[in-house]
Symmetry: C2
């Protein structure tokens, strides 16, 4: 039994807690930037409430960077970082889905150090990035799925290179996560399903991969039990606050679990998909890949997949894991193939290459270590619909 655990994020969880933003932010200075997307936080009022809270508690200046899009790019990070430096911003608020939070975290690193966003993907731990100098980040998720508010990851796309890579660094943790489940009430059933499946795959992949971490496993197990029970409710009854609260909690747990155990091949093969097809939502890609990859993986960690099947209400047999994944995806309307998502068959070889070039660091921890041929076959299966 061996594990490491480090979670330097202060979590403030609860319905209505967005109102504490100003009070918390005051610790970090007077000049704020809010990093958010183009529409949803304006439409549902979250942005206005955030600004009001900051001003009420004495923020002198609140600058807005509202150009974050799904699958955020290195260029957005660089642009926002320049604004932060130019305006001598004290602290950064990320408000929105995973894209806004990932961008906010990356902007802290880039604006507080030398260089550009792409310099920091796969940046090693070490003495060059100095703790306490990075601008503090407060993350406020408005979806339930990413877990970005409690982990060290920022997934960044580089459209020129058609690559999607990860800044993974202990200085990329937010200082504070304000998780207010009421902010997720305005998600559509479809967005609820997509983001919920992201959390689901986080929990599934962290539980079943080969990294040993009993604490993270316990959190992933708890997340799966909650997601099984509450994700379908949240999708079918968007205004059910209890379901929203449970999903926000499960998403946080799964976000911590992947911080300690990383993900595995489903994520490794998805990133090239949304890198080449930026209109594909991350979790749509995950949904298309998960059944085939689960069928490929379960023999590599039969105990954990049997446990997973049991949690999902099946007999505790590893092969039942595939049915369990398929059933959950069907229940939330996300049973799709790569073909249906618009992926072209002739691209599957390039996707295979990219998985090998960019994600092979995950291969050794995947339940079954894949060959390049395995990857290609899995893409074909996910393309045709497993």
């Amino acid at each position: 039994m061996k594990f490491d655990f480090y979670l330097p994020v202060e979590v403030l969880f609860g319905s209505g807690r967005l109102y504490t933003l100003g009070e918390v932010a005051k610790r970090y200075g007077y000049r704020a930037i809010i990093i958010t997307g183009k529409n949803s936080t304006k439409e549902n009022g979250a942005l206005d409430r955030a600004i009001r809270s900051l001003k009420k508690w004495g923020a002198e200046e609140v600058i807005l960077y509202d150009r974050v899009e799904p699958n955020p790019t290195d260029q957005m990070v660089n642009e926002a970082s320049a604004i932060v430096v130019e305006n001598k911003i004290d602290y950064i608020v990320g408000l929105g889905g995973g894209s806004a939070l990932d961008t906010a975290k990356a902007v802290s690193i880039v604006s507080s150090n030398e260089g550009y966003a792409w310099d920091y993907v796969n940046y090693p731990e070490g003495p060059r990035l100095i703790p306490y100098l990075n601008r503090p980040v407060i993350c406020i998720p408005t979806t339930a799925g990413t877990g970005s508010e409690v982990n060290r990851y920022s997934v960044i796309s580089n459209p020129k290179r058609k690559e999607k890579l990860v800044i993974s660094h202990s200085l990329n943790y937010p200082k504070v996560a304000i998780i207010d489940p009421t902010l997720t009430l305005s998600m559509s059933p479809r967005l609820t399903a997509i983001t919920g499946v992201d959390a689901f795959v986080h929990a599934l992949e962290s539980l079943t991969n080969k990294v040993e971490n009993i604490f993270a496993d316990d959190l992933a197990i708890r997340a799966l039990r909650i997601i099984k029970e509450w994700l379908p409710v949240a999708v079918n009854e968007p205004e059910n606050l209890t379901a929203r609260e449970w999903m926000s909690y499960a998403s946080m747990l799964a976000g911590i679990a992947i911080d300690k155990k990383r993900v595995a091949l489903i994520h490794g093969m998805e990133h090239p998909v949304s890198a080449h097809y930026p209109n594909v939502a991350h979790a749509e890609g995950l949904a298309a890949l998960a059944p085939a990859i689960t069928a490929f993986n379960y023999k590599g960690n039969p105990q954990k997949y049997a446990l997973f099947a049991e949690i999902m209400g099946y007999e505790p047999k590893p092969e039942k894991a595939v049915d369990a994944v398929v059933e959950l995806l069907e229940k939330v309307g996300l049973r799709v193939s790569l073909k249906e998502l618009g992926v072209e068959k002739e691209k599957l070889e390039r996707l295979t290459e990219d998985t090998y070039m960019l994600s092979r660091g995950l291969f050794p921890i995947n339940p079954v270590e894949p060959t390049v041929e395995d990857i290609y076959e899995l893409y074909v299966k996910a393309y045709e619909g497993f």
Copy 2:
């Protein structure tokens, strides 16, 4: 659903991980003090191995403070703090049971700030204690029970005042916890039982008290399941490493749970007992008090006590919680009364007064808010043997 979660301790858990001490400590400087007890860490070799690891990784000076005793006093903290200042110590290693760890943490605060240990009991959060200036603390538990390695508490006794109070402050977290279950292998069955019951009561009290924190509840529930299964094994087979690993893990979980939810009346009434009778081990006092207080408490939080009973293998009925507590204590040979522990009947009034004077901050979160008369009656029951 509302909770806060903050755990800035880096946990390194695993059998044999004591050897990483030197490598980890190197981050914090060159001049170390090890704070430990008089005997056990010398006899079982842990102290030698800790010193060797520090020296191997370049520590210039390793000073020893080995005068910590059970129920550590403010005077020990003051004495060790003076040594730390005198010797310009860079970082502090706490090695031992709860007493050594609590002392090490308190020495960091006292040696890095003004004044004496007793100035910091119940010290409020605020700007006067400055983060990053406090000397870093590395905690290495050699028992499984206290949870001190992952929380903000140091329980300190003041023999002149016959008071036992708590330093509870966010600057009292250790920087690193190295939890190496092999260090607990040399505990006698009796010490295993005593320390294990401490973890058990942490989990019981945090789960059932009135503070709302679902995350801490989940950790307490997991701890209870493990303790039920593995504490009797650890007591009966002291060299069973699997049992030791599970107990170290459960103790950590329960230590995090009380950090978020605090404890309740069992701890509140125990502290005066061991303050007046320093030869009574903390968890012996807990064991004497737990059955009567559980019988008093269960109606105040029937759902949680029913859940507790179920976890312990009983029907999910709140009143079964008493049987569950009694059975666990009997299984590990800790079914005692205050009388058997040497408490004098004529002291019960004074203990009642002290509970009211020093622990009444816990009354509102106890499942049933007690009156002074309730406290006295509970002491009488625990004295006679419930």
